[in-house]
């Protein structure tokens, strides 16, 4: 299996612009590397949510210098591994919390927390572990 690798360097807290540039680089390399027509939109959406989440939750002291994105394309699924040395997070708890919020009345309309809804809806598998001070998130997206 051929794994591709891309590093996204974060220079400041909430460095969403670097994430955006990283996604652009990913899309270019993904388009050049794939041998068949695959809709990249769900993949970009999931990666954007995860990468922005990592960039969002590091303050100045705990900001990871870089996020490492590895990916591979299989017959009917896209696999990715995203690792960073930022603060620990727990995706499964976030997903559970996001699914609990069902009140969509105007006053209680949420302005955040949509990301984990999107991730859980588009991914077929999500595995997270903390290894030392490194977060490692593995996921699969049907294609």
């Amino acid at each position: 299996m051929n794994w591709n690798e891309l590093e996204i360097r974060l220079s400041v807290a909430e460095d969403y612009l670097s994430v955006r540039h990283g996604l652009q680089e990913f899309k270019t390399r993904f388009a050049n590397g794939k041998s068949r027509d695959i809709d990249v939109n769900p993949i970009e959406l999931v990666l954007a949510e995860i990468l922005n989440n990592i960039a969002e939750h590091g303050d100045h002291a705990s900001l990871p210098e870089k996020i490492c994105l590895k990916w591979a394309l299989h017959k009917n699924r896209f696999s990715a591994e995203i690792s960073d040395a930022g603060v620990e997070y727990s995706p499964l708890e976030k997903i559970r919390a996001a699914k609990k919020h069902k009140d969509t009345s105007f006053d209680n309309l949420p302005e955040g927390g949509f990301g984990w809804h999107i991730i859980s809806a588009l991914c077929s598998d999500i595995h997270y572990r903390r290894h030392g001070n490194i977060n490692i998130l593995k996921l699969q997206i049907p294609v």
Partner: protein
């Protein structure tokens, strides 16, 4: 990013001149929406024809702009692409916002997509 306002049949049409409403542009989007709709009382339609990509931060910014309108003002959406439709559907925000095929359908309040 820019927003061009246009009033047609008492409806404020806001065309978003950007290909992305994402985490990198969500704050700018909210600020532009606030300054463009400040004091306006009436229906608002967001024209997303040029928007190719939106993430959860962009969606949150749209919800925030909606909640900042004069209470009970309507905000509808039109001309959405594949990614925008996916995000609204997966987060069930398509049950909060009426989404029309284009500006004409939005003005006529015709069939939803």
């Amino acid at each position: 990013m820019e927003i061009t306002p246009d009033i047609i049949n008492n409806t404020l049409i806001l065309k978003i001149l950007a290909t992305r409403i994402d985490a990198a542009s969500a704050v700018q989007f909210k600020d532009l929406m606030r300054s463009t709709t400040d004091g306006y009382s009436g229906r608002v339609v967001l024209d997303l024809e040029l928007v190719e990509f939106i993430d959860s931060s962009g969606l949150g910014a749209i919800v925030s702009a909606y909640k900042a309108l004069v209470p009970r003002n309507r905000m509808d959406i039109c001309s959405t692409g594949e990614v925008v439709n996916t995000v609204f559907r997966l987060t069930r925000m398509d049950s909060i916002f009426a989404i029309y095929e284009d500006v004409e359908h939005a003005l006529n309040e015709g069939e939803l997509i």
